[in-house]
Subunit: 116 residues, 2 copies
């Protein structure tokens, strides 16, 4: 599933930092690497993972590879989360309605008891 890889890619702080950086525009591998105290090959692994999740795309021209954010992948996650939220909010609404009904019945029962 696509979601597996996107969530998986975002489960690492280094990769989230890369995504955040790319929100501000394209960057080369070197630029992306600068903020991290990490050997290049390690960082490249992260980039590969981001690419295979669909969150990042890259193209090499000459000897430099430029990376860019693929926002559709992020949107996929947002959609999934929104769907879950909708479901549990609907459930909470039903619950609330149920409680309201209970309260009303409580009152009317109280009145009946008094008037009896």
């Amino acid at each position: 599933m696509q979601l597996d890889n996107v969530f998986g890619a975002l489960s690492d702080a280094t990769r989230r930092a890369i995504v955040m950086r790319l929100c501000d525009g394209e960057a080369s591998v070197g630029e992306l690497a600068k903020p991290f105290e990490m050997a290049l090959p390690s960082l490249m692994k992260h980039i590969r993972i981001l690419e295979s999740s669909g969150l990042v795309a890259s193209e090499k021209t000459g000897r430099v590879r430029m990376c860019s954010l693929q926002t559709e992948a992020l949107a996929t996650v947002e959609v999934w989360l929104a769907a879950q939220r909708e479901i549990w909010e609907q459930r909470l609404d039903r619950l609330e309605m149920y409680v309201e009904r209970l309260k009303k019945r409580e009152k009317s029962n109280a009145r009946k008891r008094k008037s009896k």
Copy 2:
């Protein structure tokens, strides 16, 4: 970081299914296990991971453990995603404005050239 664990927890289809199930209300471990062709201990591991990410809470009464969704954890993820979205949308806006300015300058230059 909390986000590491939440994203990590959601990177598995089984665990996402559990989360979806819990959107519809509490459930015991046994109920959660039913839809899956998986040994109980395997499923329990998933539940542990969901718990340590903060997505799920559980309490044991008697011999049955009830699990419930902790929606704040899901909200954390939504907040993070929304923040990223805001950043790159602002950037796209700036880009668009820039392109608009270019177009206008283009036009005025064209007029100047004609009138010369």
